[in-house]
């Protein structure tokens, strides 16, 4: 926030003071909490999940302050500020701002910044913490790429984080320079680099990337998104041990194939609707933007053919690779689920066969596969529950279900009324609360979020018992 206030001061937008105030408030509350509580020495895993999850919530609440203090979002709509902040910290990129011209530059910078910070926390979470805790079968990341995953969490997590952040920072710099040379202003280049690296998708303009209408900018962003939607631990490994590291990871093949086939499909569907240059350009951009759960927009795909929209929805559902900042169900899990289903098919034919589930060249343990399957089932269940709730609040079913998919997958735009050029004000107020919680659930890989609730209820009942 301090950095943003400096930016605002330089820009002279008048929002600097407000940002400064909110920074001070946050810092002081943080200090009070930090010194006021003691860390219990015996933390079980539910508590560990809970602390990770609550820290995300706490940061999001703090991030909502600047929107309120600058008066961009009035105090009566504090939940909208929270929505914007959560959407930022979870790297989703769904926005409720409709008029970007009246928003001070400092705040726009702040918006991109929180996505960047969210991505930073996320990358450690995705590469080191969650796999080590074995969430939803994420320990599989380590099985194929011997990157900087932490085997023993407490010893290595700081080390891992440092390496990952180095890579993350370098990438941000690289992309912003590239964007600058592609014709953006410094401010735009930096903010867009922030949100690209975090696969977040906040833009400083209402019409997103379409504002620049530049092929070069889009090309840079496509490359950036594609890179950042892939596993960072593989990237680190490739950076230290040569490009052969990529070839060994089967997930990367699936990831690229998925995006490529989506691209081909989109091109085929859009043939005859758009002229071929636009077709290739927009199809590729959207295949990458939604396949990595970034959610930048160039044109309005709501006007595309229905089957193109269905394809985009599937992309949003699956999302990027594990070990990256991308959201969604993750390609890794799709892979396991495919293998699992085909094994059942083989078993139906040969009932006594013992068939291992393979991923690339490694064999997956039965228990890990069960975890992955459990995760996918829960994920799909949440999509359905979210969709029903939103539809029940009076949103039309396409918008409701795609909104649910988009929020849980941290993609950004949805289908129907909540398309890339629209904003999420089309959802009713309670509906946005539902979306917020879906974003958090999706970002925290569902299981920790569930356990967070479990642990919190347990804690509450403990406190009550102590009093009573």
């Amino acid at each position: 926030m301090l950095i943003s206030s400096v930016v605002a001061a330089v820009d002279g937008g008048g929002a600097g003071f407000d940002l400064l105030v909110s920074a001070l408030i946050t810092a002081s509350i943080g200090c009070v909490l930090f010194y006021g509580s003691t860390v219990s020495p015996t933390a079980d895993s539910a508590l560990a999940f809970a602390s990770v999850a609550w820290s995300w919530v706490a940061v999001s609440v703090a991030g909502a302050l600047p929107f309120l203090l600058t008066g961009v979002i009035p105090w009566v709509r504090f939940d909208d500020a929270l929505f914007e902040s959560i959407s930022g910290f979870t790297c989703t990129g769904s926005t409720i701002l409709s008029d970007f011209t009246s928003v001070p530059q400092g705040l726009l910078f702040f918006r991109s910044m929180i996505q960047w910070f969210g991505g930073m926390g996320l990358i450690v979470l995705a590469v080191a913490v969650l796999p080590a805790l074995g969430i939803g079968g994420l320990e599989l990341i380590a099985s194929e790429s011997p990157g900087p995953t932490a085997d023993r969490l407490s010893l290595k997590v700081r080390d891992t984080a440092r390496r990952l952040w180095l890579l993350y920072g370098l990438l941000t710099g690289l992309i912003s320079v590239a964007l600058f040379f592609a014709g953006m202003s410094i401010f735009d280049a930096v903010t867009h680099a922030f949100t690209t690296v975090a696969t977040g998708g906040y833009s400083t303009y209402g019409d997103s990337i379409a504002h620049f209408d530049s092929f070069l900018v889009e090309a840079v962003l496509i490359v950036g998104m594609l890179y950042c939607g892939a596993s960072f631990s593989t990237h680190w490994h490739a950076a230290t041990a040569g490009l052969g590291a990529y070839r060994r990871v089967s997930e990367i093949r699936w990831y690229l194939w998925m995006i490529f086939s989506a691209f081909v499909l989109l091109v085929l569907v859009n043939t005859g609707e758009l002229d071929w240059v636009d077709n290739l350009r927009d199809s590729l951009f959207y295949a990458v933007s939604l396949g990595t759960s970034t959610g930048f927009g160039t044109s309005d795909y709501i006007a595309w053919m229905p089957s193109a929209q269905v394809a985009l929805l599937v992309l949003m559902l699956v999302g990027g690779m594990s070990g990256s900042t991308a959201g969604g169900m993750k390609v890794l899990r799709l892979q396991v689920v495919f293998r699992y289903a085909f094994r059942e098919l083989l078993r139906a034919r040969h009932p006594k066969a013992v068939i291992p589930i393979r991923m690339g060249r490694t064999t997956i343990e039965e228990q890990v596969a069960a975890k992955v399957v459990g995760f996918v089932l829960l994920y799909l269940g949440l999509v359905v529950i979210g969709g029903i709730t939103l539809a029940g609040l009076g949103v039309d079913p396409v918008t409701a279900f795609s909104g649910s998919v988009s929020a849980l997958g941290n993609a950004g735009p949805a289908l129907g009324e909540a398309g890339p050029t629209s904003n999420f004000l089309v959802f009713p107020r309670i509906g946005r609360v539902v979306l917020m919680s879906l974003m958090l659930f999706g970002r925290l890989e569902v299981f920790p979020a569930m356990l967070m609730l479990v642990a919190s209820f347990r804690g509450l009942s403990q406190i009550r018992r102590r009093r009573g």
Partner: protein
């Protein structure tokens, strides 16, 4: 143990004896016929299906003749052709002494395809539909019990209407055969695994699968008769009431009117239909047991039945709560009607069309996916399997806190084995994998996003109506030939469940696969040398 009350030799017992005789008679008839040289289960099944469906052609030709309809001659001729073809196929085939599971699956699938072929033939011969793809999808809707059609029911001759209704009814009867004979091998959806759990050891209904079949079939036949009478008493003309009883109890959904049940504009008839659909979605062994002992408490004791009713109740309440108007008796009836129609995968429509709120729509869609109870004639994924999946998720959540926790999944008093569990999950994923490309195809072939998705779900679950622009039944009309073929495929997959279909397809594909693998291996050897 208390002594069993004596089974009275009453109408039900008579019915049971009659059904058993018909089943055994047709079985031995086929067995006497097939004395050929070629040992093939699929061939015999195809032939048997044709031989046994041909009488339906004759019956409907007779109906049409009495009604002075235009279709009696084509029906008669096509019936003769089907009969001759069936006899010819059966004559040369012989049922193998041992049957591996994959062959069994192939036989079931080819039986379904044979029925599809026969019904398509009837549609083409009578000129009900001229294009082959339309005839195919109509036939698929008939044999899978889906209420999706391109034809206005009121433009059909009585012979064709009864042909389609009897087709739906017979195919559901065939599903009972599949339920008893085939699905136990699959571990899911049949009597053995979860159906047995639901009603506690339904697999021990009778010592031999043949008599189990006869018992279930007699329940089915008896209920159909009862509901025909109920419709009649509720004020339906007698022809309509027979036809509607046939399509209600089979969870089929074809009607004699273009407005479905709703065009009768009668509350009493709609209530009868609601009850009928509820029964169609209920497990047959459960009903048999409850009826035999007159013990209604069995329903209460069944976990699955409680979940089934509970879901209906929740959806009805939610739909009413989300609609803008204050509930009236009529609107409550319409809500219950739509809900039971979706969960039992019947696909009837009541007179309260166009009043479904958005949330209700989403919930109905979920109910379509869930479908009826296991071991019922309803389509869908079955309540039991979803209960198992819910337990599975809960177990995985517990495991993520307590690493070494071992949880066995219980439903009611018995536990579900890991193999059955894996089958259920595999089935769900495979069905999703089939569903996604078809949704894409539907969307490319003239439906909107909502219409494509809901219609794909609806045809996979054999319901019929779907949402979107073409609500409620216009989806097939707005699809092209490719879409019709895809819908045919989905309906078939939904009816015989995905694994047998894929295994049967694999049966064709496996030799090819083997050849390719061998060729690749030899090529690699050459490279090594």
């Amino acid at each position: 143990m208390t002594p069993r009350p004596p089974v009275r030799a009453s109408a039900p017992a008579l019915l049971h004896r009659l059904t058993a005789k018909v089943l055994a008679g047709s079985g031995s008839f086929i067995q006497r016929l097939c004395k050929g040289k070629i040992e093939s289960a699929s061939g015999v099944t195809v032939g048997a299906v044709w031989v046994l469906t041909a009488p339906v052609f004759f019956l409907c030709a007779a109906v049409d003749f009495l009604d002075d309809g235009p279709d009696y001659f084509p029906l008669l001729v096509s019936g003769v052709i089907v009969e001759i073809a069936g006899l010819a196929v059966v004559r040369f085939g012989r049922f193998p002494s041992t049957l591996p599971i994959s062959r069994l699956f192939t036989a079931v699938v080819s039986g379904a395809l044979a029925a599809l072929g026969a019904v398509t033939f009837a549609h083409l011969a009578t000129g009900t539909s001229i294009a082959v793809d339309v005839a195919l999808v109509e036939a698929a809707a008939t044999i899978t019990g889906t209420n999706a059609t391109t034809i206005d029911a009121e433009s059909l001759s009585l012979g064709m209407i009864s042909f389609r209704a009897i087709g739906q009814w017979l195919s559901a009867a065939a599903i009972i055969v599949v339920l008893v004979r085939v699905l136990p091998h699959l571990g899911v959806g049949g009597l053995d695994a979860d159906g047995g759990v639901a009603t506690r050891s339904a697999r021990r209904l009778a010592p031999r699968s043949g008599s189990t079949m006869a018992r279930l079939m007699s329940v089915y036949v008896g209920l159909t008769g009862l509901f025909a009478m109920a419709y009649l008493l509720a004020g339906m003309p007698w022809v309509d009431s027979v036809i509607h009883a046939l399509t209600t109890l089979s969870s089929g959904g074809f009607s004699t009117r273009s407005g479905s049940i709703g065009s009768f504009q009668s509350g009493a008839i709609e209530w009868v239909a609601i009850l009928g659909m509820l029964v169609a979605g209920t497990s047959l062994p459960l009903m048999f047991r409850a009826m035999r002992r007159a013990d209604l408490h069995r329903f209460v004791r069944s976990v699955e039945f409680r979940a089934y009713l509970g879901m209906i109740l929740v959806v009805v309440v939610a739909t009413l709560a989300w609609s803008d108007e204050w509930p009236t008796v009529a609107s409550i009836r319409h809500a219950i009607f739509a809900t039971t129609s979706a969960i039992s995968t019947t696909g009837y429509l009541s007179s309260g069309l166009g009043t479904v709120p958005f949330g209700g729509e989403a919930l109905l869609l979920v109910l379509m996916v869930v479908g009826g109870m296991s071991a019922s004639v309803a389509g869908g994924f079955k309540v039991m399997r979803f209960m198992v999946l819910g337990q599975y998720i809960r177990r995985e959540l517990t495991k993520s806190i307590h690493r070494s926790a071992v949880g066995k999944i219980h439903l009611g008093r018995s536990s579900i084995g890991e193999t059955a569990l894996a089958r259920i999950i595999g089935e769900l994923f495979l069905a999703t994998m089939i569903l996604v490309p078809v949704v894409l195809l539907f969307a490319a072939d003239g439906l909107g996003v909502e219409g494509a998705f809901t219609f794909a779900v609806s045809s996979l679950s054999n319901v019929g109506f779907a949402f979107g622009d073409a609500w409620p039944l216009g989806h097939l009309n707005s699809l092209g030939a490719l879409g019709h073929l895809a819908a045919t495929f989905l309906m078939l997959v939904g009816r015989i469940s995905i694994t047998p279909v894929l295994v049967a397809m694999g049966g064709i594909g496996e030799p090819t696969q083997r050849t390719i693998r061998r060729w690749r291996l030899t090529k690699r050897d050459e490279i090594v040398r």
